[in-house]
């Protein structure tokens, strides 16, 4: 007797290449799919932006937060009260914020940075400009004093 050939539901496979993100609300580290752009934190249930972001023009935000990496292109400018990019930030254009917190900061030669910065590492190309921000680079950037940007 021929067996039924009814289409079966494909087994739901795990997302390929999951990546670890840290919730910028509660600090919980969990894995998300490589191509996810927004998820809910499994611990605090708050919405998280986890995508990498490229700023091509001038953008204004109150609080700009992502678990991914931010790249500000040469003609781009990010204006915000606070900026948090867990994956780090690369600036070729301008960043004007009260405070930045997150991953490593890379300032390319055309970068103009205005605001405070707390990051584990900083790379500055010759020609980049920093306009008097309070910088905390290295292990100290993870201290409770700098735990929340703009505080």
């Amino acid at each position: 007797m021929a067996r039924s050939t009814a289409p079966t539901k494909p087994a739901r496979s795990k997302a390929p290449n999951p990546r670890a993100v840290r919730c910028y609300h509660c600090g919980h580290v969990h894995e998300v799919a490589a191509r996810a752009s927004r998820v809910s934190c499994p611990k605090c249930a708050k919405s998280l932006r986890v995508e990498d972001v490229t700023i091509k023009t001038t953008e204004g935000w109150q609080n700009f937060q992502t678990c991914g990496r931010v790249v500000i292109l040469a003609k781009g400018k990010l204006v915000a009260q606070t900026v948090e990019a867990q994956g780090g930030i690369e600036v070729r254009g301008g960043l004007d914020a009260k405070a930045y917190r997150g991953g490593p900061v890379v300032l390319k030669k055309s970068a103009v940075w205005r605001g405070d910065c707390a990051a584990p590492a900083l790379s500055i190309e010759e020609g980049a400009r920093i306009q008097n921000g309070l910088f905390t680079i290295g292990a100290e950037s993870l201290s409770p004093e700098t735990a929340s940007p703009g505080s």
């Binding site: 103009v112 910065c117 590492a121 900083l122 790379s123 500055i124 010759e126 020609g127 980049a128 400009r129 920093i130 306009q131 008097n132 921000g133 309070l134 910088f135 905390t136 680079i137 290295g138 292990a139 100290e140």
Partner: protein
């Protein structure tokens, strides 16, 4: 580049308090408190401690610095650098592993944007209240 003969070395077992001015390059291996000015390069070696304001053409830090640093050409924070204080320099190089905390002004116009170190700040104008003036005159 300056030859070794032009480098002044402050030895590892030396502790100096005060002001130092160098015409060329100086390398600090010991402990220094005060103010350093140099026309050339100041090198703060690994293991050295400086509680000082530093003003030089080029500054290279491998040790511990607490104080404001102004470099007229280039400021380099190497891997072992630990720094607390304000930085002003046209060019800043931060090696991976370096730690610092303070206000930073970098770029060609850094001097205009940055806070002038306390030693360079103009004294606050004295305000004479007329009533006090009169009181002094009466005395």
């Amino acid at each position: 580049m300056a030859g070794n003969s032009e480098i002044t070395v402050i030895g590892a077992d030396t502790h100096i308090k005060g002001e130092m001015t160098f015409g060329s390059t100086a390398r600090v291996l010991g402990t220094f408190e005060g103010a350093i000015t140099a026309k050339g390069e100041i090198q703060i070696a690994e293991g050295a401690t400086c509680r000082a304001s530093i003003n030089a053409a080029r500054v290279s830090i491998d040790g511990v610095v607490e104080g404001d640093v102004t470099a007229h050409e280039k400021l380099t924070l190497n891997q072992k650098a630990r720094m607390k204080g304000d930085l002003v320099a046209p060019t800043l190089v931060v090696a991976e592993g370096a730690q610092f905390s303070g206000h930073v002004s970098v770029g060609a116009d850094a001097k205009n944007n940055g806070r002038a170190p306390a030693s360079e700040q103009a004294p606050e104008p004295k305000v004479v209240v007329p009533s006090q003036e009169k009181a002094v005159a009466r005395k």
